[in-house]
């Protein structure tokens, strides 16, 4: 029997005036799985995650969390419901320390708003260690960290503050080869916890094949293919990535010019 989906998106559409960004999209995510959401630029990936994280409201369609119908009117509501989104820009402040970033907006305080800084340092250090970075000095400014370490910080923060569905928006783009691998390792460690569903948005077919358990392909606002790793062949993935076009066709088109 299939495991129970943690979050289910049914027939979601989103129209911006005359423009249909999403046209009846379905998505199922399961705890302990990495669900790769793939598609070309303009396929509707960003619109979909903005709906899931409460930035936009869908024009029609429903979102279920653990079989309960939910609608999020703001990012705050989505995050309270357990949806943690790590955007490309990471929402991290360079000049501030790791700990101050980790707890930004959700500081631990005692009387008169005093920060419990030692406790916060300890938690930031421990949470990042859990998913792979031993950052010895959490009072160091984030500006000194590598891109991969910043991703880890943002992911650790989302998990610590109760994310059950972790949405990662292109976490490996704009990183060097080695750091991309570090981020993929981090994603695997989060997956190994077994209680968190990960939505992994990417352009990169190779990365998705390395860690994804399940795929959804978007093109022009519609799902053009989905399935588990076992159901899809490598060739399928590449074809669907390109929005359904065969690389062979593209080669022919290029040859003509």
């Amino acid at each position: 029997m299939a495991p129970k989906s943690y979050m289910r998106v049914e027939n979601v559409t989103k129209k911006f005036g005359p423009f249909t960004a999403l046209n009846g999209v379905d998505l199922d995510v399961y705890p302990g799985e990495v669900h790769a959401l793939l598609g070309d630029n303009g396929a509707g990936k960003s619109t979909l995650i903005k709906i899931l994280s409460g930035v936009h409201q869908p024009t029609s369609g429903t979102i279920y969390m653990e079989e309960v119908k939910r609608s999020f009117r703001s990012p705050r509501e989505a995050s309270a419901a357990g949806i943690g989104t790590v955007y490309q820009d990471l929402a991290i402040n360079q000049l501030m320390s790791v700990t101050r970033n980790f707890f930004m907006g959700r500081e631990l305080t005692s009387t008169l708003g005093k920060l419990r800084i030692d406790e916060m340092n300890q938690i930031a250090h421990d949470e990042m260690l859990k998913i792979g970075i031993d950052f010895s000095d959490p009072s160091q400014a984030v500006g000194t960290m590598s891109g991969g370490q910043r991703q880890t910080l943002a992911i650790a923060r989302a998990i610590y503050f109760g994310a059950k569905v972790l949405i990662l928006d292109e976490p490996t783009s704009a990183l060097g080869q080695k750091q991309q691998m570090e981020v993929l390792k981090t994603i695997k460690r989060v997956r190994a916890r077994g209680d968190i569903a990960i939505i992994f948005i990417t352009h990169n077919e190779i990365h998705s094949r390395l860690i994804a358990d399940r795929y959804t392909f978007l093109a022009l606002g519609q799902v053009i293919g989905n399935g588990t790793k076992a159901e899809l062949e490598g060739g399928d993935i590449r074809r669907l990535m390109a929005g359904g076009a065969e690389i062979k066709d593209l080669e022919q088109e290029l040859a003509k010019i």
Binding site: D89, A91, L95, R100, G105, R106, D134, G143
Partner: protein, 397 residues
């Protein structure tokens, strides 16, 4: 097998390297240089009993508004309306004390005049902040508009109510009002008492005698001035200006809030990158409006200390003070772009500026305008230094 990972590349720093990274290091070095230079050039007169009092008075005065400007700059905004806010608050208090409370509420006491004025200036601070966060306009332009608006309003109110742009010769409220004494009176008298007591012990046997030449007399007076003794062999100076206490309170509270509390973290986050702060749930707008109000609060305290000290006020009060406050904040290590800085640095900056502004009184051969030459030079140097520190902290990005 090599077990190197990313974090190994960050070397452990020595204590010295750590100190060099601190935002206040530059202003600390400049301050030490100025203290030594002024001490030498004035033959120590800048730090005798009266010199210290006068220097501290101006340091505290500038420091009060610089702290307000600095917090606002860390949150990424400017306030050019500090000077006109001082003039407005001074005018408001002086006119109420002279002509009575508005709406026929009768005679003003120092406290009621202050409280009503504070309500008005906080209201202006709130208005400026709200316009900035709602419109998304640069605070430079919005507060520049309020610079003109408040300067004009101050003068108009003076002329309409008082027929004259200055109020002077108010009764000395410090005599009967405890509140006025806290604003314009003296504090830490015990320090000067102790100084005098020690001075007497040191100076035993010294006295003016009939046979002394003029030069010998001057030397003796100079010597006594470092012992807090005047030429009648009595105590010379009795205490610091009350604004020193206000400076200590305001700087202390601001330091604590910024370095140790949740609101401090919000201030840094707002100035560093307000979008990511907002995405993490920091109430960016409330932080900014609150800090514009705090800046207005500091300007009002500045004005109250001035009014109750001199028992007068006029429309030209607070001229250039907004620029001096910003300059002190920058020299104190606050980044123009926000998100970084410390109150300790601002205190060092205020000491530096206060001493240089007053230097002309202790070094007779110096032209007072050199003060501005110095400010310009140090300001430019500070901006470059701050930029270097920022790059060092963010790893050169």
């Amino acid at each position: 097998m090599s077990e190197r990972n990313e974090s190994d590349r960050l070397q452990n720093e020595s204590w010295t390297q750590r100190m060099m990274r601190r935002p206040e290091i530059g202003s600390f070095i400049v301050m030490i240089i100025i203290i030594l230079a002024l001490g030498l050039a004035s033959e120590g007169k800048a730090f005798n009993a009266l010199g210290l009092k006068n220097n501290i008075a101006i340091i505290a005065q500038l420091g009060i508004i610089a702290v307000g400007a600095a917090l606002l700059m860390i949150a990424g905004e400017f306030d050019l309306s500090i000077g006109p806010m001082i003039a407005f608050a001074g005018m408001s208090m002086a006119i109420m004390l002279k002509w009575g409370l508005p709406f026929g509420l009768g005679e003003a006491t120092p406290f009621t005049a202050f409280a009503i004025t504070m309500c008005m200036t906080l209201g202006f601070g709130w208005l400026i902040g709200t316009i900035v966060v709602r419109s998304g306009l640069s605070s430079f332009i919005v507060t520049l508009a309020f610079w003109f608006f408040l300067r004009g309003l101050t003068e108009v109110c003076f002329r309409l109510i008082n027929q004259n742009t200055n109020v002077s010769g108010l009764p000395d409220f410090k005599q009967e009002s405890w509140f006025a004494e806290q604003m314009g009176g003296e504090v830490f008298g015990w320090l000067y008492d102790a100084w005098f007591w020690i001075g007497q012990k040191v100076a035993t046997g010294l006295e003016f005698t009939a046979g002394m030449t003029k030069d010998e007399k001057i030397d003796l007076i100079n010597y006594l001035s470092f012992l807090n003794i005047n030429r009648k062999m009595e105590q010379w100076v009795t205490g610091f200006d009350a604004r020193l206490l206000w400076f200590i309170i305001i700087a202390g509270v601001a330091w604590y809030v910024l370095a140790k509390t949740q609101i401090g973290n919000w201030i840094y986050a707002t100035g560093d990158n307000k979008e990511s702060a907002r995405a993490n749930g920091v109430p960016v707008n409330r932080v900014k409006v609150g800090l514009f109000m705090f800046s207005a609060f500091c300007a009002t305290i500045f004005a109250a200390c001035q009014v109750f000290d001199t028992n007068s006020s006029d429309a030209a009060k607070g001229m250039f003070k907004e620029l001096e406050a910003i300059a002190i904040a920058v020299v104190g290590g606050i980044l123009m772009t926000g998100g970084f800085g410390s109150i300790v640095g601002v205190v060092f900056g205020a000491v530096t500026f206060g001493l240089v502004a007053n230097a002309v009184f202790f070094i007779p051969w110096i032209d007072g305008a050199w003060f501005r030459v110095f400010v310009g030079t140090v300001l430019l140097a500070a901006v470059f230094a701050n930029e270097r520190i920022r790059k060092r902290i963010t790893g050169g990005i």
